[in-house]
């Protein structure tokens, strides 16, 4: 859903590093090198960022869509 | 922390210690075994989740098990005092 605050295995704080990681990987940097430069050295913490998919962005779309429909419906009934 | 005596003879003592774990028992056991007046020293945690450790001490008879335990604690306090001094010194530099 959203990036976990800490590494599941060792408890290192990783939540604050996700956005930088995602941005830099998107610009074409090598993921491993980004992790190294962020100071994430254990593989338990590395997999947290590497394997993460930010689904919350998709979920938010449903909410927005539902809101739009509600608006449209209320507009229709007003007529 | 609470200590319940399970068994007490002239040179044996078996106690159950509430609210501690391997941390304390293991260092105690090591120090008791280093004492030459102690015959047997050991501890057991009957169930890892649901029970307290049971410490067993048997001395060779010239000191009581309580004395042996107190001696071990004193030795450990000495070690930790020494350690904290060394640590503070190392952290300053």
């Amino acid at each position: 859903m959203i990036i976990p605050v800490r590494c599941f295995t060792c408890g290192k704080l990783i939540g604050d590093k996700w956005e930088e990681f995602a941005r830099r990987v998107k610009t074409g940097e090598d993921a491993g090198e980004v992790l190294d430069s962020l100071g994430i050295k254990r593989y338990c913490c590395r997999r947290m960022l590497l394997s993460h998919v930010e689904i919350i962005d998709e979920v938010l779309r449903f909410y927005e869509e539902a809101e739009k429909r509600k608006e449209a419906r209320s507009y229709y009934y007003q007529q | 922390m609470k200590v319940n005596v399970l068994k007490r003879t002239k040179n044996e003592l078996k106690i159950e210690v509430e609210g501690v774990g391997h941390t304390l028992c293991n260092i105690l056991q090591r120090k008791l075994l280093e004492d030459e007046n102690v015959d047997v020293a050991g501890y057991d945690i009957p169930h890892p989740l649901a029970s307290n450790p049971v410490i067993y001490v048997r001395t060779k008879g010239n000191i009581t098990p309580e004395e042996a335990l107190l001696k071990a604690v004193d030795k450990l306090l000495e070690v930790s005092e020494e350690f904290s001094k060394a640590l503070e010194k190392a952290l300053k530099t």
Partner: protein, 266 residues
């Protein structure tokens, strides 16, 4: 020995394994630190459930001030809800007015400016337009044995100090051990093999296995009663303080045990 931000490595000599293990266990389970424990959700229309948000808040490491706060069970107030000496209130009030926003840990407003999240950039939740999040969170001191969020460290380890013996007579500096070593501990210097980085050695013995000589010209052993103690703080407490606290707690436990034995004796 060496320190880098939140991580620290110590070279400890002259103590035995049970003692160093007791220290490690105390660091993990007994050294208190701050974390959010109870959350009152006033309004939450985000896509995450109240419980998930509360859990995420709990995991945020908070900078801890051990000297001015008490553990709730030891606090003089004896109150279920805590007092100023054992509880810190943090509040959060966010609404996505136009467009999606991310709520960060830095937006938590603490009543004590010293007790704040270690990092301001931890995402708590994302809000779509029109969603609201209002809550009040209560942080308190706790111990790692009750919940991992109260652990002041992420890792705390110790290992033996390695000792590498190279038999100069039988070693012909073939370099096989240099190649196989995963940690690059060894280096070839002229016609001799030398130890380059002793502390990196993981005692894997690969070098001894690969040595063509019989018996191997290289021998990996370890020093008795010397340890490399590694500790990585979450940022809640400085690593030095964690070590000092761990020894202090150990002493307290020992004294308490001794007094209990005295009672039994009497």
């Amino acid at each position: 020995m060496e320190k880098d931000g939140n991580t620290m490595r110590l070279l400890i000599k002259g103590v035995d394994t049970p003692f160093i293990n007791a220290l490690r266990r105390n660091v993990l389970a007994e050294v208190p630190c701050m974390a959010i424990d109870e959350v009152v959700i006033i309004e939450n229309s985000s896509v995450l459930h109240d419980e998930i948000i509360a859990h995420r808040l709990g995991l945020i490491p908070l900078k801890t001030d051990l000297d001015s706060y008490n553990l709730p069970e030891e606090c003089s107030c004896k109150s279920e809800f805590g007092c100023n000496l054992c509880r810190v209130t943090l509040t959060l009030d966010k609404e996505a007015k136009d467009g999606t926003i991310t709520v960060y840990s830095g937006e938590l407003i603490s009543e004590n400016p010293n007790i704040v999240p270690v990092s301001d950039a931890i995402p708590i939740v994302k809000l779509a337009k029109g969603q609201k999040l209002r809550l009040e969170a209560y942080a308190r001191l706790g111990r790692g044995k009750d919940h991992a969020k109260w652990q002041p460290v992420s890792t705390c380890t110790y290992k033996y100090l390695p000792r590498i013996n190279i038999d100069a007579e039988s070693c012909d500096a073939c370099g096989k051990c240099v190649e196989i070593c995963p940690r690059k501990v060894l280096a070839k210097k002229g016609d001799k093999i030398e130890v380059r980085d002793l502390l990196a050695c993981s005692l894997c013995q690969d070098c001894a296995d690969v040595c063509p000589k019989e018996p191997p010209a290289i021998k990996i052993g370890w020093e008795e009663n010397a340890f490399i103690f590694g500790l990585e703080s979450t940022g809640a407490l400085p690593p030095e303080r964690i070590m000092i606290e761990a020894v202090k707690i150990l002493k307290k436990q020992l004294k308490e045990f001794a007094s209990q034995i005295e009672v039994q004796k009497a």
